[in-house]
Symmetry: D3
Subunit: 139 residues, 6 copies
């Protein structure tokens, strides 16, 4: 593949993670945001991350989103976590799956990272008008 | 639930992640290993991590294993990664899914963490006699 | 212990770390904050962290607060650091001990983490109307 | 050297990293900011970091700034990154070199840290009225 | 203070953290180990870390050791953790306090860091012939 | 560029960082090592890291090596640090510059990361038969 083809393929894949509306083009906004300072970085995200990595087989879009979210929670890089909770929802993860993946990480990262992640998720869910459905917990 | 019930429930869940043979009782070996120095820590892993967290709904065992592995790769805590590649395989993840989850993390953690994770996976796969099936990649 | 007993015991212990006034119920505010998105996480904090871990023997509340603060400074998880500077003060740590524990970490984490921690402490001390007493340093 | 001499030497070196104007005395503002809570920390930064470390030979000021920036990007400690992009520019690094050092880190830290670093750089460049000169990238 | 005085003061303080026997001079072994490659780093540890930081007031040697250990567990820097479990014991921390400080960190770092820290502690305790005294835990 | 061209370009650039002898083909050994488990990862390192990033302008090979080393020291990913001390030397960094870049990081990461990095450097320098030239330090 030449770079144009990888870019095309990346954009196409990226579209599977973005809605038409508000956050639709968050990634493209990042590309726009980087235009003056490091235009190639936006290009690498589309060509390499989306064009080469996300388009590989073996994992579904939802699995890729879950793995990505788990890494970002662990790193504590919150602006990217916000973006990928959005793309995860668009790719088909439910709010329950996203929150539950945070809960699963409590034994592996401790509570602080998870509390911060939940604050980010709460904001995203509210912006998108989605909610976690209640569930009976142990008693 | 009282502590005994949580412990029972934890052991039961843990068994879904362990085989009968070699690494079968790795977690129980950890409990044994901790006996003289911090017996309660082994107990907390079973009661809290397995008894309370892993037994919750909303995610399959495979999803929980994937999320856990992604966090351990990101942290670079290799002894635990080794254990959870084992439990992930037992819980039903394929070698391909595990390796692919590492590849998915390249754009989010960089290559060093992934290279170290692949070395650990290679060792585990060899011990268990499993292999990643070849796949045509871009050309 | 069943979960109710652990919850009770956790709340009781938590009260030793909270004052009646403003930040009094910060942890309970967290529980409130999590109610809609992940109510069990607030419960785990009280049952597991406070009910099981903090109620163990061998360390005083002040030692537990010091250890916790050192970990949060090292991680750079500032919202939780703010909370635990508050609980540490309520548990009996002096502002001097808290600041000194940051200074002790300079050789182990470098200056950036410590400067950020001092900014958080300055804010908390000001909110609570406490101050670090001056002390002659080397000359 | 006694502490006064180290302090003098540190201030002198620090001046090579600070302009007369706006951000000129950012480090000294930090010293001022710490005065009430931990005056010695400001002193250690000047005596130890600038007086002992930065004044050593073998690396130029620009090389020291580059190494420091690479570490801060990797840690994700953004307030300090902002400061050291400023001091790096004053020490003679070009905006292009700073941005390029971020790009070089993509394979080693992944995109999230780099995107956050670019946001910080964009702010600093705008405040100082400098810009990255465009450059043809691969096509 | 001039550098000689700081060095003297540092060595004196360091002695409070080292026994006469085996691990007695671990820090001095580090200085020896660094002699050919970076002799000043050993000097900075003694002059700055021990001569300036450890000799400050407000915290006891035990508190300093506890704070240091908590940071090293959180970072996962195990060679240094091994050293500081040793110096902590010499400074008067009990094996129980050290292990308990690990347990206290479970809610803040998760289990992996703590399991690795316990493995290091087990090795050190065995080398020094000390043991954690058993204690009834919840039932 | 198509993938073949990027691969070619990557290998060509990689050669500037590798000698003919012992560690000559360390990166290629990595590619070999990954062949059975994740052949594309070796390819991405050459195509993306070397073919796209390292071949950009604005920084010299030495500057790129310095920035990379600083990030790896900060992360504590030692196998990769060992590799990049080797490639840094081949690219023209002196042992003195490498060690000095570690010393520069003491105020930004603390001593533990630097001590571990020095141990790695000592091993690499010894394998390559190079040494840090002595230098008078403050007195």
């Amino acid at each position: 593949m030449n770079n144009n083809e990888r870019y095309e393929k990346g954009i196409e894949k990226l579209m599977e993670f973005t809605t038409e509306n508000d956050e639709a083009s968050t990634h493209l906004k990042i590309v726009e945001h980087l235009k003056d300072i490091a235009p190639e970085v936006g290009q690498y995200i589309i060509e390499f991350a989306y064009g080469e990595i996300y388009t590989r087989g073996r994992l579904t879009n939802q699995q890729r989103a879950l793995v990505t979210i788990a890494s970002l929670v662990t790193q504590g890089t919150e602006p990217q976590l916000e973006l990928h909770i959005n793309t995860g929802l668009t790719a088909g993860l439910t709010p329950e799956e996203i929150v539950e993946s945070f809960v699963q990480l409590i034994p592996y990262t401790g509570f602080p990272r998870i509390l911060n992640a939940l604050t980010v998720a709460k904001k995203v869910f509210s912006q998108r008008g989605v909610a976690v459905k209640g569930e009976e917990v142990h008693s």
